[in-house]
């Protein structure tokens, strides 16, 4: 299995453990990842704040690059996949595509409208499948109670994510968690916003959101959260001490990336998964697994 791989800026920046754990897990699953070195940032909805057209051109280009490679496009970030899919949806309009393709032509590229960007989490469920994953589990996570934290763009808008055609996407994280032997802790905040997009514009609101969800999950008995979104990871992990202050609660909840969780179950060493690089210490969690 081979994919055009878009790591996203954060996995290649402040969340390097997401990048390395993805590569490690892919290797063990036998997935070939061809990184889109020439592609641009998705714009994350921030470029489109002022320039929606520009953001669409950049994403059309990324999708055209994947078409040129004749490979399905894989993202490892809820925001990236959401923004890619929204662009793909707008670019189904032929006239819009023609207009945008003018900017791709000088590079010999053309977006033909065939991209179907998917998150690694979906690819695990849809392409790899439960049987293959089960066969690779060396260290079942029976001991753990895990809270899912999706990130807005992997749950909304449902139309863009095609939940009706792919019902497993609706609860993809719960499915993965139980596949790996752990117990899912459900709580209100799991499909809500982590607050990251407004961290710089309104820190108080942003950290109240993060803190509230972390506190709720902790009270419901979660040992850790698992998220497919590195932006959520930044607000929930790196900002957790500040979030605790803002809501005036004690918080100590490790936040795992999806491939880190899978890697743990596959028996990979924590260092290879970057689990030692979190702000919230993962040691207690690893001890419980006897690692």
């Amino acid at each position: 299995m081979k994919y055009a791989f878009w790591p996203g800026c954060v996995a290649r920046g402040a969340a390097p453990e997401l990048y390395t754990s993805t590569l490690a897990v892919a290797r063990h699953l036998g997935i070939d990842l061809v990184e889109l070195e020439a592609a641009a940032c998705t714009g994350a909805g921030i470029i489109s704040d002022g320039e929606p057209y520009l953001q669409d051109v950049l994403n059309a280009r990324t999708m055209a690059l994947s078409e040129q490679m004749q490979l399905p496009l894989m993202d490892i970030c809820s925001t990236c996949v959401g923004v890619h899919r929204l662009a793909a949806e707008k670019l189904r309009d032929v006239d819009y595509r023609i207009r945008i393709n003018h900017h791709l032509a000088p590079e010999g590229l053309e977006y033909r409208g065939s991209a179907d960007p998917r998150h690694l989490l979906w690819i695990l469920l849809e392409d790899i499948g439960e049987d293959r994953i089960n066969s690779l589990i060396k260290r079942p996570l029976d001991e753990l109670n895990l809270g899912p934290f999706y990130g807005c763009y992997l749950v909304r808008p449902e139309r863009t994510l095609e939940f009706d055609a792919h019902p497993t996407r609706r609860n993809s994280l719960e499915r993965l968690i139980s596949m790996l032997g752990a117990t899912t802790v459900t709580y209100d905040g799991m499909t809500k916003c982590c607050g990251f997009p407004i961290l710089t514009t309104n820190k108080q609101n942003s950290l109240t959101m993060a803190g509230t969800h972390l506190d709720e999950a902790q009270r419901m008995g979660a040992d850790a959260l698992v998220t497919p979104c590195p932006l959520c990871h930044l607000n929930l992990d790196a900002q957790q001490p500040d979030a605790a202050k803002v809501i005036d609660r004690r918080l100590e909840l490790p936040i795992l990336h999806v491939p880190q969780l899978l890697g743990l179950a596959m028996g990979l060493p924590p260092e290879e998964l970057g689990l030692t690089r979190h702000v919230v210490d993962t040691r207690n969690l690893l001890n419980r697994l006897g690692v």
């Binding site: 954060v10 402040a14 390097p16 020439a38 592609a39 809500k192």
Partner: protein, 351 residues
């Protein structure tokens, strides 16, 4: 006919007691959640309180949470609700105070429309028309999606920012404000954009969480309206705010290296000019980032970010070219508009 269980969140203001109560009833195919609430009220418990009127998704009074998400009870079939959870859990809307059972106090929600002055402000120098103020179909098409709001509050109920900030204008009032910004008969476009960009709880406080888009029973697309307001306010020059600086800093990083520049973005968002001119607030904001930055440094994450991974050289060149082309196209567009305006003036003068 099949028996269906409902768990209803109740609140009794006299005893200040809130509790969940289970009801069972026979449900016919095609029946809505509202039909069932009526049946419960008529046949099982006359004290159950909820709002309703039209039963046709027009009046906007029956919004409530069904299995955790806000929707119109009269528009939601029991068979759909069951897919999201069985027994069906019914609760009052969120982000507002409950008066009794499923009835909430909408004062806060309604007040946001007043704050945003969401009514037509016609041009004062114009004689009022004999009948109504009219506009062309083309003009209406620009904002028609935002015209269908029934003020049900479902979006506000699920809004993740309204949950933590009473001052946030919220999706419905902002979508309505957008509607008047776009309305060719309105005279206050500039003032509106300035207010929405600069007021506390305005357009830049939205997290882009899509809750409102998902909840709205009328496809108003409130979040899309907010995003358009952002672009319009930047275009109109209301850029002295954190949100538009963040946009500009983010975009300029991508323009240079093809990727997000995490290392310099906080500085750009706070505003380089503001920092250089020793603006006290700017320095405080910058300090606000520091604890996080020190932690990131400890885990060596900031070092990774500071390495500034970029797109490949070849990719960068094309990304820069695209930025330039899009900018030139915009400029071209401006020039055309200016030329047109000049022509128009001359034509008017000679006519």
């Amino acid at each position: 006919m099949a028996e269906q269980r409902f768990i209803i969140q109740r609140y009794d203001p006299d005893s200040a007691e809130s509790y969940r109560e289970e009801f069972s009833l026979d449900v016919q195919p095609g029946q809505t959640v509202l039909d069932c609430l009526n049946a419960i009220k008529w046949e099982q418990d006359g004290t159950l309180s909820f709002r309703m009127s039209c039963r046709h998704a027009i009046c906007g009074s029956c919004a409530m949470k069904v299995n955790g998400s806000s929707m119109l009870a009269c528009q939601t079939q029991v068979s759909e609700a069951v897919e999201l959870g069985d027994p069906v859990e019914v609760a009052p809307m969120g982000n507002q105070t409950v008066i009794k059972d499923l009835v909430v106090d909408t004062t806060k929600f309604v007040a946001q429309f007043e704050r945003a002055e969401t009514w037509l402000e016609p041009h004062e120098d114009q004689e009022p028309p004999e009948r109504e103020y009219r506009q062309t179909v083309e003009d209406f098409d620009h904002w028609s999606h935002a015209s269908t709001c029934i003020h049900c509050g479902a979006c506000y109920s699920d809004c993740t920012v309204a949950a933590v900030d009473e001052k946030f204008l919220g999706p419905a009032a902002l979508a309505k404000a957008y509607r008047f910004v776009m309305d060719s008969r309105d005279s206050k476009r500039e003032e509106r954009l300035k207010f929405l960009a600069e007021t506390e709880g305005g357009i830049w406080d939205c997290t882009r969480c899509y809750m409102c888009v998902q909840a709205c029973p009328k496809d108003v697309l409130p979040m899309d309206a907010i995003m358009e307001l952002r672009a319009l306010s930047i275009e109109a020059g209301y850029t002295n705010n954190h949100g538009s600086r963040h946009h500009k800093g983010f975009a300029s990083g991508v323009r240079k290296r093809g990727r997000l520049d995490e290392a310099s973005l906080p500085i750009q968002s706070v505003g380089i000019t503001r920092l250089l001119t020793l603006n006290i607030d700017a320095h405080k904001e910058m300090l606000g980032y520091t604890p996080g930055a020190i932690r990131l440094l400890k885990t060596r994450k900031l070092l990774e970010a500071a390495k500034r991974h970029g797109a490949s050289q070849d990719g960068r060149e094309h990304i820069q070219r695209i930025f330039e082309e899009v900018e030139a196209e915009k400029h071209h567009h401006d020039v055309d508009a200016d030329a047109f305006a000049a022509e128009f003036e001359t034509a008017l003068g000679s006519g």
